[in-house]
């Protein structure tokens, strides 16, 4: 406390009569905290509460029936595996891309760096339309895959993975890039002079440093993919037991006025997404404490 004695005297004069001079209540600070908490409550917790009430309205049993229907199990399964495949691919490619951007100079690097965030700016529906135009069965590429290789892309899981790859592209890159930049210079070189091959140097020296960022980026990718709707409704269509993901299933239930079913499946997605958020939070904490 470095308050001047004069102020002290003035305060004491004001408080004459009070047995003990109490510090004034910091209304501003409490007000800010209160505002932040109410905002979170109104915006996030209230809707979650609403959907929980709706999901369990008819009791635990009908909740369980709602989420164990074959169409639901298939939709949730499809969502999880397409998201997982995408996450693996985007994690590997994201680390590679971040590495290239940080360590090499090449023509077009600045433009490339700017383009990486493009998927965030493009509306998901537009993404879907672009992919249909490129890989649809009537196009050269789509036709080739379907006729020569017997692989259907659009209105099938491969199209869903493609859409997810596109929309989640920036996450790993943007999580890993700043960590790579903040690494002390010459780490890779120091390891190589000590006898490590470039790959061993990366695995033993660079990877442990960037691992928390890689995992954070991957989890964000996965969480983003779980709820994706706009691009998938175009690319995958809405074929139950075929290309219907959980989000699309929920949409179909809302369309059919089955709010209880929609809420129950939504809760499943919510629980998965929330676990991931907690995981990311835990990793971030560990990174800051390290």
């Amino acid at each position: 406390m470095t308050a001047s004695p004069l102020v002290d005297v003035a305060q004491r004069a004001q408080n004459t009569g009070n047995a003990a001079a109490r510090p004034p209540i910091p209304w501003g600070a409490w007000g800010l905290r209160g505002a932040a908490l109410s905002y979170l409550g109104l915006l996030i917790l209230l809707p979650v509460l609403a959907i929980s009430v709706q999901g369990f309205r008819a009791g635990w049993e009908s909740f369980w029936t709602s989420i164990t229907r074959p169409a639901v199990l298939h939709a949730v399964g499809l969502t999880l595996w397409t998201s997982a495949v995408m996450t693996v691919i985007n994690t590997v490619m994201g680390v590679l891309t971040a590495w290239a951007l940080v360590n090499y100079r090449f023509p077009g690097k600045r433009i490339m760096n700017a383009l990486i965030d493009l998927p965030f700016a493009i509306p998901a529906l537009v993404t879907g339309v672009m992919l249909v135009l490129l890989y649809g069965p009537q196009t050269a590429i789509g036709g080739f895959f379907e006729k020569q290789l017997g692989v259907r892309i659009i209105f099938a899981p491969p199209g869903i993975v493609l859409a997810l790859l596109f929309i989640s592209y920036p996450f790993v890159i943007r999580a890993v890039q700043p960590v790579l930049q903040s690494l002390e210079p010459n780490q890779q070189e120091a390891a190589q002079v000590l006898g490590a091959s470039p790959w061993v140097a990366f695995r033993r020296v660079i990877l442990p440093e960037i691992a928390p960022a890689v995992i954070t980026g991957a989890l964000l990718c996965f969480a983003r993919a779980l709820g994706e709707f706009g691009s998938i409704i175009i690319v995958g269509g809405n074929l139950p037991m075929k290309s219907q993901t959980a989000a699309v299933y929920i949409y179909a239930q809302v369309e059919g006025d089955n709010f209880q079913g929609a809420s129950a499946v939504s809760l499943v997605l919510l629980v998965i997404a929330f676990s991931i958020t907690l995981g990311v939070d835990f990793l971030m904490r560990r990174r800051h404490h390290a």
Binding site: P185, V193, P208
Partner: protein, 360 residues
């Protein structure tokens, strides 16, 4: 011969040579200092030797083995970077053992070697610390131990003390010198700091714009440089145009005996080099007349630690040449005796001098 470079060249995309057709031989156990300003190509040369950069032309041998086209991990060198570059997620001991673990040395061997090196760098018992718990000086000592652990044939140090405080830098120089002497490992140290070069080097190589200008012991390069850049880069230098005939040097009106090692410069345009501490000042012309080069006026006198720094304007009465500024260093007692103050007239004599070929 431990390190042999033969006509090594390296340029970057801009097509300007960073290292220019450079040849160099370094003896086993020698501590060789490459001294140059930033951008002179000295760090590039070190990276070429370590294999961290590919060279454009030339060949490199380490201990008789040609390594020109080998990758860094095949060259068996130790490298210490200015930025320490310790592995942050590893303990001190793991950092030091890294090279051995890559070579799949046994656990016991690694532990023994780590202990030995911690002892060598006077950091016994700190093996379990993380790098961020260490001071800069300690980190750099660990980096040195890490480089030495796999017993490299050649130790390469790139401005190793550049990021440290002046005091720690001086301590670490002594540590390095001791360790280098004890292990007898052939070493190249790159620096822009001439004090560091003087203190550490068996020999110094002066590098400028990718050319190795001159090689010699610190004393040789300071007292008898062959090159004007060397003369001015190492310490302060006073240089005056002069002429030499068979026995004498003529500096303006003054005539001085020619130094014996300058016969090859007879009847050529030369410059006379003398260091600030080689100037003596006298109130009258009665100091030994041979060495007097003229009269000067004191411009300023400043405190410079153990010595006084005096800036003089040399009045060369003849030829109508421009007055020359000279730097002199005097002991405080000398300065007091003369009562040095700005505006004072003094006679300027030389205790020692050296001749350089003048390049026009």
């Amino acid at each position: 011969m431990s390190i042999l470079l033969e006509q090594v060249s390296k340029g970057y995309a801009s097509n300007q040579a960073v290292v220019n057709n450079l040849s160099l031989e370094i003896e086993t156990g020698e501590l060789f200092v490459l001294l140059g300003a930033s951008g002179s190509g000295k760090s590039t040369l070190l990276r070429l030797i370590a294999g961290l950069l590919p060279l454009d032309k030339g060949r490199i041998w380490l201990h008789g083995r040609e390594v020109t086209n080998l990758s860094p991990q095949q060259r068996n060198t130790g490298f210490v970077f200015q930025s320490y570059s310790l592995f942050r997620h590893m303990t001190v001991a793991q950092n030091i053992a890294f090279g051995l673990s890559i070579k799949r040395a046994g656990r016991a061997e690694q532990d023994a070697r780590v202990k030995e090196l911690l002892n060598l760098i006077q950091m016994e018992g700190l093996g379990d610390r993380m790098p961020h718990q260490l001071s800069g000086g300690q980190q750099q000592r660990v980096a040195l131990a890490r480089a030495l652990a796999p017993e490299p044939e050649v130790l390469l140090l790139d401005e190793p003390f550049g990021a440290l405080d002046a005091k720690i830098r001086v301590q670490l120089r002594q540590t390095l010198r001791e360790i280098q002497r004890r292990l007898h490992v052939t070493t190249i140290l790159v620096t822009h700091d001439q004090d560091e070069a003087f203190e550490l080097a068996d020999r110094i190589g002066i590098i400028e714009k990718g050319d190795l200008l001159e090689i010699g012991t610190p004393g040789e390069l300071y007292r008898r440089p062959r090159n004007r850049f060397t003369a001015t880069f190492l310490g302060s230098a006073n240089l005056l145009p002069a002429h030499r005939n068979s026995h004498h040097i003529f500096v303006g009106e003054a005539r001085l005996p020619a130094p014996p090692d300058s016969e090859h410069l007879q009847d050529q345009p030369v410059e006379i080099l003398f260091r600030p501490e080689e100037i003596s000042l006298a109130p009258t012309a009665e100091t030994p007349s041979e060495t007097v080069i003229g009269r000067g006026v004191v411009q300023e006198a400043t405190f410079a630690g153990p010595l006084e720094r005096v800036l003089l304007k040399l009045n060369r009465e003849s030829n109508g040449e421009k007055a020359q500024l000279l730097q002199a260093l005097l002991s405080p007692s000398e300065a007091q005796q003369l009562g040095i103050k700005p505006g004072q007239e003094v006679w300027v004599g030389l205790k020692n001098y050296h001749l350089l070929a003048r390049v026009s």
